[in-house]
């Protein structure tokens, strides 16, 4: 049976603005991916644990509250503690350009700011998977 790209879409932190997360979840599904949606108020621990059990290829997180500098790197740290290095981690939301280099250095492979077309995110995922399809 064909291999499917599996993506965990999560909203870490406390902000409740999930329009973007839901739109991207639908767009990824329409691009043929399997999307595990975990909803609001997720801790980094919950996100990492779910990503392991669901064996996803990609973790996609959205934050609009400004807590990205704290929460995104924490997810990377937890993945590293579990020696998981083959999951592509991306983030989106209201994220100032000057924060992006720091997030990338922490291991967030792609950062998508407001106005990014969903097609761009889809292409990025397809071209940057860390595991063979």
């Amino acid at each position: 049976m064909e291999r499917k790209i599996r993506v965990l879409v999560a909203k870490p932190g406390l902000d409740g603005h999930d329009r973007g997360a839901k739109v991207i979840a639908r767009a990824l599904r329409d691009a043929g991916m399997e999307v595990v949606y975990t909803g609001l108020r997720q801790t980094p621990e919950q996100i990492v644990s779910a990503s392991i059990q669901e064996d996803v290829d990609v973790i996609a997180m959205s934050i609009l509250s400004g807590a990205h500098n704290h929460l995104f790197p924490r997810v990377m740290q937890l993945l590293a503690e579990k020696s998981i290095d083959d999951v592509l981690v991306i983030g989106g939301g209201v994220i100032p350009d000057e924060d992006i280099p720091g997030l990338k250095a922490a291991g967030i492979a792609g950062v998508f700011t407001p106005g990014t077309p969903t097609t761009e995110t889809i292409e990025f995922i397809k071209n940057n998977l860390k595991r063979g399809i």
Partner: protein, 553 residues
């Protein structure tokens, strides 16, 4: 007369159709910002079913299509109210004093997410969030600093607080008490609209039933003790931000409003006792005419609901008063200066639609919290409209426009159809539990996004007329140390306060929550004893439980 017009219109139309062969129009179909079809031309023929006195009437008279006051902006302008708050109470207090000095006429407090969800700053889930999207308030001590030096009997204060609204209102009352100002002198608004939190905004705590009880307790308490307080701001803003159409915004907001009135009436309150203190909060989006029409339609729909469904008699219960904020979701991170223009058009729509108060977004809000400089431009935009545009010289200047009246009728009709569907499901609470309202919004949001990506919907500077740009500079940053500072303050507070009094107050609150007594008095007592927001909300969590998000994708 209309026979003549009809004949002439046919001549015009057939002429145009012929000309189109050689000079086609730009597009095959034309539509509003909410994707409703728009005709080439509107004429008196579109007015035939409308009755001026029944459907439009005079300003300050039923059904309030033309506005809720009889002189509108000739009497006084709308309240220019800029939503603000970040970091600590000290920092936000400085921003409020800056805004008052710049000519704002009311305060609007933004709380950080832990405060909005009833967690203290040192709670595990608060990590990284303290002070980020608003000010962190953990106890009365923070609230005293927040309003230090601001005369609470002279300004009106709007607080965007929902699930823990009762606690923050109690803190405001307690701060005023310390200033020697009685609750009857206080003016302002708490958002207190939990239903749209379930639908669109996400800062809920308790399940619907207990949340509705808290809301009706506030209605009852304020109608006795804080008579000039707007006890709820029934909000379509976030519904629209989540991606709804204009008609859905009106429909779902008013359906929520119906649910609140229903709950209060069932709790034994007189509709004309609390009705006058209900207020609304709408979005103002890009389509100038559709938005102006939306506000007119909303007033008409609400007036009918209150009169026909609830038998309200007090004109103040029938008239829909609202705050407006320009649409944050239309701001682009690309070429942020363009946002100034968008905000100006959206603000004009709100004024043409007869808003009672207005927040204009700052150009940099798609990137970060606004700086003082960009907040000033946003405020100046309102002042230019008020003092220079001429839009405020007469009442409801768009009335009688064939197009705008027709838009108003259409939005009313679509909203009423949605409300009937929701009635059929047993009301807004049931429709939310089913996920119906959320699903309708998500479908509209997805369609909107796909239209942008296909280029069918042009967003200037984002999917057309792009330029290469450097990174924006000078954005406002919240000191990441705020979390630690707040935690230290909390440790200090818990050590210094009278913990016996706190325990007793929390126990009294627990007893009230288990029973049916009004929750405001025990909350007020707990606040006075310096119980923290988290402690107070936890007592109620223990009894009411926590809401689980309904997601249907």
């Amino acid at each position: 007369m209309s026979d003549n017009i009809g004949k002439s219109f046919e001549d015009y139309d057939s002429g145009v159709e012929k000309a189109l062969i050689r000079f086609p129009e730009r597009k095959k179909t034309f539509s509003t910002g909410s994707k409703a079809p728009v005709k080439r031309l509107y004429t008196p023929l579109d007015d035939s079913a409308r009755d001026y006195l029944r459907d439009i009437g005079f300003p300050g008279d039923y059904p309030y299509t033309r506005g809720v006051q009889n002189t509108m902006y000739r009497g006084r302008f709308w309240t220019m109210r800029q939503y603000a708050g970040f970091s600590t109470a000290e920092e936000s207090n400085k921003r409020y004093k800056f805004l008052l000095a710049q000519g704002t006429t009311g305060l609007s407090v933004a709380f950080d997410l832990p405060t909005q969800i009833g967690y203290d700053s040192d709670h595990a889930l608060s990590q990284g969030e303290v002070g980020k999207v608003g000010v962190a308030i953990d106890s009365l001590a923070d609230m005293e600093i927040l309003f230090d030096g601001i005369p609470l009997d002279k300004v009106s204060t709007s607080m965007t607080i929902n699930a823990p609204a009762a606690v923050l209102l109690a803190m405001y009352i307690a701060v005023a008490e310390k200033m020697g100002i009685g609750p009857d002198k206080l003016e302002g608004t708490i958002q207190n609209d939990i239903l749209k939190e379930y639908i669109a905004r996400g800062t809920y705590i308790y399940p619907p039933e207990s949340s509705m009880r808290l809301i009706t307790d506030i209605f009852a308490y304020c109608s006795r003790s804080v008579p000039n307080w707007n006890t709820i701001s029934i909000s379509g803003y976030h519904i629209r931000e989540a991606g709804s159409t204009a008609s859905q915004e009106v429909a779902f907001t008013i359906a929520d409003g119906i649910a609140y009135v229903d709950a209060a009436v069932k709790a034994g309150l007189d509709v004309d006792a609390f009705g006058p203190r209900l207020s609304f909060f709408f979005n103002s989006h890009n389509d100038l005419f559709e938005e102006a029409a939306k506000f007119r339609a909303a007033r008409r729909v609400w007036a009918k609901v209150m009169k026909e469904r609830f038998g309200a008699k007090n004109p103040k219960s029938l008239s829909l008063r609202f705050h407006t904020q320009t649409a944050g979701s239309t701001l682009t991170a690309q070429q942020p200066d363009n946002n100034i223009v968008r905000v100006a058009i959206q603000a004009l729509a709100a004024v043409l639609g007869g808003t009672q108060s207005l927040h204009t977004n700052s150009k940099d809000e798609a990137l970060a919290l606004p700086t003082e400089a960009s907040v000033r431009i946003a405020l100046r935009t309102q002042q230019v409209i008020a003092y220079e545009s001429g839009a405020t010289e007469t009442i409801d200047p768009l009335a009688g426009s064939y197009y705008v009246e027709s838009l108003t009728d259409r939005i009313q009709k679509e909203a009423e159809a949605y409300i009937a569907t929701i009635d059929g499901m047993g009301g807004a609470v049931k429709a939310i539990e089913r996920g119906y309202i959320q699903q309708e919004i998500q479908d509209a949001a997805y369609a909107y996004q796909m239209d942008i990506e296909s280029g069918e919907r042009v967003v200037v500077g984002m999917n057309k007329f792009q330029i290469k740009e450097g990174s924006p500079t000078g954005l406002l940053r919240v000191d990441p140390k705020v979390g630690e500072q707040q935690s230290a303050k909390l440790r200090d507070l818990r050590a210094k306060r009278d913990n016996v009094r706190v325990e007793a107050a929390l126990k009294a609150l627990r007893n009230a929550a288990e029973g049916t007594d009004n929750l405001m008095p025990p909350i007020l007592e707990a606040v006075r004893a310096y119980a923290t927001l988290g402690e107070i909300c936890d007592v109620m969590r223990g009894i009411f439980g926590e809401y689980q998000q309904k997601v249907i994708l």
